[in-house]
Symmetry: C2
Subunit: 484 residues, 2 copies
């Protein structure tokens, strides 16, 4: 519980600012009985909305009935499909609210936080009076400090500059009292998302304490066997998600290692090392129990139903065992280091055996070729650098591989390219993939993006997708770490 | 403005109590995705509702999405017609609210006050968890003191006892920070309603200060010429309604006279007499301007579209000129008394001329016979007592007269019967009319009641009618003043 107390003490003060719509204001228009208008805030905002109207009542009389006001918020206009939603995730995530203002003269602030660029405001009830627009603003909230990210060097590619700007906004709007995955949904701290958010944070907003707070939250809410939850709920009650994902639990070592690299806090590594080490024990145990294979249902990898995860999962396991070994050098015992070295060797051998020289690619026992297998095997470093470069070149060349559907998985593809010396190709891909999102008019980077498939959704409806999703923010990390 | 300050200083503290449903509780039922239940509070309540649910999530996990909850409140189950409502009054009066609880574990209190007996609660969104009923209660509010009304004498007719009980509940639920007309709609202080509420209050809850507060509110918010508004808005801004109704303005003298009779406060009569006198001047001026006829569009009389108000309006004018003269004896000048006497004589002559000896009834120049004409002419006292009794007997006998459609107008019918010595007939009518409401299952007495026409509504829909309307509370006054 010490960890939770420490997390509590690191609760950030949220920074507020006021955002007003840039278009859609119904200047001078009197409205009633079904009239509506759509405000455009010009970009994605997260916060609390206030609407003020003038009451237009002839004869000097006052409004004589409550004012019904319906709000519908959209991160993306394609969300206007809630009526036909048949997906499995709760419709209660849709950002709608009808209120009845007993005093229509008072500015109306909604109590809940919303994430949106557009808000459609309707006056659904007939009234004896009309209303006109007076003001509307959003009190935005974030724990990111806008003044922290350094300007990009003059001469940076303009498209990369724009991708960086949107990546920063994406991360900023997800930085609240924790690193949220998405501010519309599900506003929660996930270990897999945190790993990428924290990486990007160190070279942008530099809110190291927020990362530390999140590490403490995970460390403070383990399952009985010490395994970490894949996510932490702050609301409705502070607790860990029941789901266990080995890759997410292993990422704890990755987040801790990156935190040490950025903040240099040996004391934190010493404090949290046992938690990180325990995750490697559990994941390795799973590997052994499965007969030296990955228990694939315990790995997330990507929102990609057809994916055979067996190879990618082993890649993550090796990669994170190596991160754990890095931490062990700081805080571990000789026995722990020895264990990790032996485990790395064992899993690496299994993974290396999946390399198919005839394809020049990693191939699962089911015969599936996927980008995911290649990128994680390469990141695991089980081949030598030249072979890695060959695998990644071949991955780029082939068009028949199962491909990432999320910017989250795409991150590791980029990372694998860069680590294999294919930086130009990596940045070309960043411009193509994230630039493709910009070309689609994205204000922030979304949870899911499949070029040519605008209706891709893991939830049965694009209306349920998150259009500001922090795991998509990593181009800012690549641009700022490896140049343009 | 002095009057408004005095009104402010008389602001009552509302008495609270807790009411819980008596049936409809879905014990042990798990609900989600469109499931609903209807709670019955057993009687009409006014206040603030709180709902608490248990979250039923298998596997020890917590709720992972907001909980959508839809509330629909009904004073009367016939109100469930909002979907087809096409009336002119604002749909915003319908008592509905959907909320999205970010924390479904917390009891949910809605911020607005509702008036209802039944509440239908629906969980409209699919969720990964179910909920079950934990608790629901209403924090009721009123400025009436339940301990004040004396018990009725043993041996009181059981039906009259029941009518009295429901009348008290009706008045109580309308007694808030002012005497409201109806707590569902429009929650406002009307002079015509106040006149009857105050009369009933003196022999029941005895909250004389609340009457005085209301007198000050009207006195403090006159039109430019000194004419009083027919209603006062406390919300959204404290101000008088723009409508002018001569009968309502004249009732100010009636309320003040009754207040003096009940509270004996000569100082209040002296203070407010100029306001009361000014209303008689304006109403009499209207009579003269119209060529010694009533400007009928300036009189309310009843919600009865076919009614020729010309006779009833003169009856009210005479009746209230006489109440003004009663006040003038306490606080007026000789000149004012002389004016009032002259006006009473003039209007009485005009009214008396409308008596048709062949019909033994008052008849308008349009040839219309209505209960309204008879009752107000009789209350005006322009005939001698024997003739009054004859008129009222004839009124009871004839079935072809235009009849009252509201308990408000019915009050004056009863009063005219009693003042004409027809007390038994009056109480028979009370039992028939208000007893008829009880037979229809009313928990409080409604705004409109037309025996045999359950769909009668001045608003184009019974869903918009008010089912707890204070102008219907006067049987308690009759029973307690004139016995059973």
């Amino acid at each position: 519980m010490d960890f939770l107390k420490k997390a509590y003490n690191l609760m950030p003060v949220l920074r507020e600012s006021i955002a007003r719509p840039v278009s859609g204001i119904p200047e001078g228009r009197t409205m009633r009985d079904g009239d509506s208008f759509m405000l455009d805030f010009g970009t994605h905002v997260v916060g609390y909305i206030t609407l003020a109207v003038n009451v237009e009542k002839p004869g000097g009389d006052t409004a004589d009935s409550p004012l019904a006001v319906e709000f519908k918020f959209y991160e993306n206009l394609c969300e206007d499909r809630s009526k036909v939603y048949t997906g499995g995730m709760s419709r209660s995530w849709f950002q709608v609210q009808t209120v009845f203002a007993d005093n229509p003269y008072e500015p109306l602030e909604l109590p809940r936080r919303y994430a949106f660029r557009y808000v459609k405001i309707t006056f659904p009830a007939n009234t004896s009076y009309a209303v006109s627009y007076k003001d509307c603003f959003v009190r935005t909230v974030t724990s990111a400090d806008d003044s922290k990210p350094a300007p990009l060097p003059a001469g940076t590619d303009p498209l990369l500059k724009e991708i960086d700007r949107v990546a920063l906004l994406t991360l900023k709007n997800c930085m609240q009292t924790v690193f949220e995955d998405g501010p519309k949904r599900d506003r929660r701290l996930w270990l897999g998302d945190l790993y990428l958010q924290a990486k990007t944070n160190y070279c942008t907003f530099k809110n190291n304490d927020l990362v530390l707070r999140c590490l403490y939250l995970f460390a403070g809410l383990p399952h009985e066997d010490g395994c970490l939850s894949s996510a932490v709920f702050q609301e409705p009650v502070l607790r860990g998600q029941s789901w266990i994902l080995h890759d997410y639990a292993l990422f704890f070592a990755g987040v801790l290692a990156d935190y040490y690299r950025a903040a240099g806090r040996k004391d934190v590594v010493e404090e949290l090392w046992p938690v990180a080490f325990r995750q490697t024990e559990i994941a390795y145990e799973g590997f052994e129990k499965e007969g030296r294979r990955a228990p694939v249902n315990m790995y997330f990898i990507d929102w990609c139903p057809s994916l055979d995860k067996s190879c990618a999962a082993l890649g993550i396991l090796v990669f994170m065992l190596k991160e754990a070994l890095y931490l062990a050098e700081i805080a571990g015992t000789e026995a722990q280091k020895e264990t990790l070295r032996r485990e790395i060797e064992t899993v690496s051998e299994t993974l290396a055996a999946m390399y198919d020289p005839s394809e020049k690619l990693f191939c699962t026992s089911s015969g599936q070729l996927s980008v995911h297998s290649q990128m994680w095997a390469v990141l695991a470093g089980v081949l030598d650098p030249a072979e890695n470069a060959s695998v990644m070149s071949e991955t780029l060349r082939r068009k028949d591989l199962v491909s990432p559907v999320t910017p989250y998985a795409m991150h590791y593809f980029i990372e694998a390219l860069i680590r294999s010396g294919l930086k130009d190709e990596a940045f070309h891909l960043i411009k193509e993939y994230w630039g493709g999102m910009l070309a689609k008019g994205c204000d922030c980077f979304p949870e899911v993006f499949v070029p040519g498939h605008p209706d891709a959704s893991p939830y049965g409806s694009v209306a349920m997708n998150s259009y500001c999703h922090a795991w998509s923010c990593t181009p800012a990390y690549f641009i700022r770490t490896f140049g343009g």
